[in-house]
């Protein structure tokens, strides 16, 4: 096989997600009353980027064959924290941003420590830590409120040069600063290896513990970036249980659509980003076609159900029935 065919095989999931997103976005904008304008793109990207950050966070953990059911709650917690701290003069705001991101990193690190060094199942551990994070969010904001540095918020949710949505630029920057170095580092490789076959990775002397820990911690950081952006969009902090849960759920949907294997070791955050954008666009298609918004939860649920069921096609390739049982 030629090099480009290897590359194609490796990136198949990402390219598929990209394709789905493009098709959906074309349908969306061509039926939108305002058409393909900078405003429509800006609104769509602002909504999509929120989910994209949370989906990236979920990807990092899913790659290690784990799952983080607390990402939505870290997202909510950092949103509430940002509505207290990211305010005031430039220095104060900068300090606030650092504090919010640090909190996210800490939350992720706690998850990682419990799962890896405490040897608990990720699913139960992160449900429990999610409850704790939500409790803290509720302490910070018993009622929706707070405010944010509006200059910074408007700059980051507006447009660059009047055309490109600033949120997309930030997303790109985060990919370049967080995802690309991580996936190419020893730790990133270790995270992939641990997800692919933990036993083999362990036997080969791969630093699986450090790799997994880094993945969990960075997931917390990415969820915090998402929470920060939510504050920039809404100007408030709100400890809403339903919204946190919805983001956790949608992040899994986005990861699946983005071609990341839930069994670990396969996929990339870039795919998950396109998965997130595609998922958001599909959800918003209902508005373009004038459906009752009441149908949106059902519609999103059905998309999720179909997306996860598509994975079942792999069963047709199974030759030996014993391979059904992992």
């Amino acid at each position: 096989m030629k090099d480009w065919r290897y590359w194609l095989a490796e990136q198949r999931g990402t390219l598929l997600a990209f394709g789905i997103f493009i098709v959906m976005f074309v349908i969306y904008t061509s039926n939108h009353p305002a058409g393909f304008t900078a405003n429509v793109v800006q609104t769509a990207s602002n909504k999509g980027v929120l989910l994209a950050f949370v989906a990236m966070a979920q990807t990092l953990v899913v790659i290690t064959a784990g799952i983080d059911l607390s990402v939505g709650m870290i997202f909510t917690l950092t949103n509430c924290l940002a509505s207290w701290l990211v305010i005031g003069t430039g220095v104060e705001t900068a300090f606030g941003v650092v504090a919010v991101l640090g909190t996210g990193l800490l939350c992720g690190a706690i998850n990682g420590a419990i799962v890896i060094y405490g040897r608990l199942q990720p699913i139960v551990a992160t449900i429990a830590t999610g409850a704790v994070y939500f409790g803290i969010a509720l302490l910070l904001r018993p009622f929706p409120g707070g405010s944010v540095n509006e200059d910074l918020a408007d700059a980051l949710t507006g447009r660059v040069f009047g055309v490109v949505p600033a949120s997309l630029v930030v997303l790109l920057a985060v990919v370049l600063v967080v995802w690309v170095p991580f996936s190419r580092s020893v730790l990133g490789r270790a995270a992939y290896a641990a997800g692919s076959s933990e036993m083999a990775a362990y036997m080969s002397g791969v630093p699986i513990r450090r790799g997994k820990f880094a993945a969990y911690a960075l997931a917390g950081l990415l969820a915090a970036i998402g929470g920060l952006f939510l504050t920039f969009f809404t100007y408030t902090g709100d400890a809403a249980y339903a919204s946190g849960n919805a983001y956790t759920l949608f992040s899994i949907a986005a990861v699946v659509l983005g071609g990341v294997s839930l069994f670990g070791g396969k996929g990339s955050a870039i795919g998950a980003i396109f998965g997130a954008l595609a998922f958001r666009t599909i959800g918003d298609l209902l508005f373009v076609f004038d459906f009752d918004p009441l149908w949106q939860p059902l519609f999103q649920g059905v998309i999720l159900l179909v997306a996860v069921s598509l994975g079942a096609f792999a069963l047709f390739r199974v030759r030996n029935r014993l391979e059904w049982f992992l």
Partner: protein, 328 residues
Amino acid sequence: MSETTLGGIAGRMPRFIRRADPAVLTAFACIVLLLFLGSLYSRSFLSPEYLLQQLKVASFLGVIATGMMLVILLGQIDLSVPWSVAVGAMMACAAAAYGPLGVALAIPFGIFCGVLIGIVNGFGVAYLRIPSMIITLATNAVAQGLMVVYTGGFSPQDSATVAMRYVATGFTIPGVPNAVVIWALIGAAMVFVLTRTSFGRCVYGIGNRERAAYLSGIDTRRVVMIAFAVSGGLSAFGGVLLAGYASKAAQSMGDAYLLPSIAAVVLGGTSILGGRGSYLGTVAGVILITLLQSILSVMQMPEAGRQIIYGVVIVAMLLLYGRAPASR
């Protein structure tokens, strides 16, 4: 700490303690500790009325946790509990609006809807081999979507039938609430199924190693599917009971039952990886969680503090005895 000293101490204890699971003993010890702490705080904590009231509240969680335990024994998990509970409650109340026949069939119809959700879960897990965590999250979202469309986004106006209220709050045996009787009956049935039937042995076998169970001639996929259907049905039945208790159904009434039901099963010593655990432990876990909730609310702890304590207690107890073996 060596094996021999442990064995020496255990050897002098009565047989039933020697045979018991340490996790179950820990859970019961924690219950006693909580009762002790509670009685320090308030005298009425040890009164029979209060304890009976706690048992009644625990029975709703107990019914739901029974289904969850069956699924966890398989090494799977059911995250569709929140909306299975709500669907059971809402559909039972909705059926009541359709004349006398609807009133008569309200409870079975609610349970039936839960079983349907469970069958979708079971089909996805057993036949499509989708990870249970994912498919149950998806059916949970679909069930939520269906209910939002059905109710128009508001809490439904239908109210619970007389039978539902009687089942949840009435007294058939003087002094013992019906809900507790029902939990006892369901629990007894579960113990019988798990320990005395081939289905129960299959559940444990699959939880240990599905490959081996399959090679021993068990139709593992059917067993998994049935287990999920039972779990869905029991969640919905829990919802029916809750609707009878509150005399109406509400949106998101099941949200408060996902973490407690998993926690109750896991704190009771059932391995989250499947194949190991006893119903007695789940009973202990359910009572433990209910008492914890009750103490926190008696102390007028705000919701935020309750969530935090809850999560911390679960992680701490799991770290005590729920750890996976080290990879070596």
